[in-house]
């Protein structure tokens, strides 16, 4: 399993990653998932990680980057795939 950028979050990250991989391969990939079962574990992991991102000053960089991408995201999340390469037409 990959390491967290914050070593103090490794343990909680590993618990979440294990849960996610099990859910992903046994439920999501089979199309039988109804809820994100690993959400409680993710929230614990996120709590640890966001603290680490803040102390390292990465949180602002991230926020900016994700705001820059909002338009992009909207394009990415569009409802149906028509198969064309939208990037090529730009």
């Amino acid at each position: 399993m990959s390491a967290s950028l914050a070593p103090e979050c490794n343990e909680v990250k590993e618990r979440y990653d294990n849960c996610f991989l099990k859910w992903y391969s046994e439920k999501f990939l089979r199309g039988t998932a109804t809820t994100d079962e690993c959400k409680p574990l993710f929230e614990q992991y996120e709590k640890c990680l966001s603290k680490a991102l803040k102390t390292r000053g990465i949180d602002t960089v991230l926020k900016e980057a994700r705001e820059d991408n909002r338009e992009n995201d909207a394009e990415h999340m569009r409802p149906a795939r028509n198969g064309e390469l939208y990037l090529l037409s730009n």
Partner: protein, 192 residues
């Protein structure tokens, strides 16, 4: 200045396996420069069966000497040898019902100098609809099964070669995944 690269490829693995491999690609012995991978956010939509993930990778990189000369190290936070770390933000959406995965990765540091955006579109090939295609799959499945039994426990030197050829023969559209990768390099140097 913008530079653009595009490449198409077909993996000999089914779509679900490819999406799983995407999430599991680090750590691996060929990418020791990737130091960490964290999931920043994840959202599952039960109505569309779509999963959206944002991850943050930290990678070690060595700056080219020419770049080092141009930029003061104090700004880059690089060591004397030019070793530095940079963050990559990766976003992915998997739609298991429609059979596609879109990903986008971009660098977060030095974006004023160079921004690199890599996009990948993975797609499950359309299922065959014609009768002869289905018959082809049936035959292939039979061939693979008999091949499997035949090779079971065999230690002969050509056993792997046999398996390989059996797999190639039995390869159906369901066992392949198409991917289109595009990389856009955008440099702001020299821009007003």
């Amino acid at each position: 200045m913008v530079k653009f690269y595009s490449q198409s490829y077909t993996y000999d693995y089914p779509f679900p396996a490819v999406t799983l491999a995407y999430f599991l690609r680090y750590p691996n012995p060929y990418s020791t420069h990737v130091l960490s991978t964290d999931t920043i956010s994840r959202h599952f939509d039960p109505d569309t069966q779509r999963l959206t993930t944002v991850r943050l990778h930290l990678k070690r990189s060595k700056l080219p000497a020419a770049v080092l000369k141009l930029l003061p190290r104090s700004i880059l936070g690089a060591s004397a040898g030019g070793d530095t770390q940079s963050f990559i933000l990766e976003k992915s959406v998997v739609d298991i019902r429609e059979g596609w995965m879109d990903t986008e990765s971009r660098n977060l540091d030095f974006t004023g100098v160079l921004s690199v955006i890599e996009k990948q579109e993975f797609k499950r090939p359309a299922a065959p609809s014609r009768l002869e295609d289905w018959q082809g799959i049936e035959g292939a499945t039979r061939r693979r099964e008999s091949g499997g039994f035949f090779n079971f426990g065999s230690k002969s030197s050509n056993s792997n070669a046999t398996k390989e050829s059996v797999l190639t023969q039995s390869s159906t559209p369901e066992e392949k995944t198409d991917v289109v990768t595009t990389v856009t390099l955008h440099s702001h140097i020299g821009e007003k």
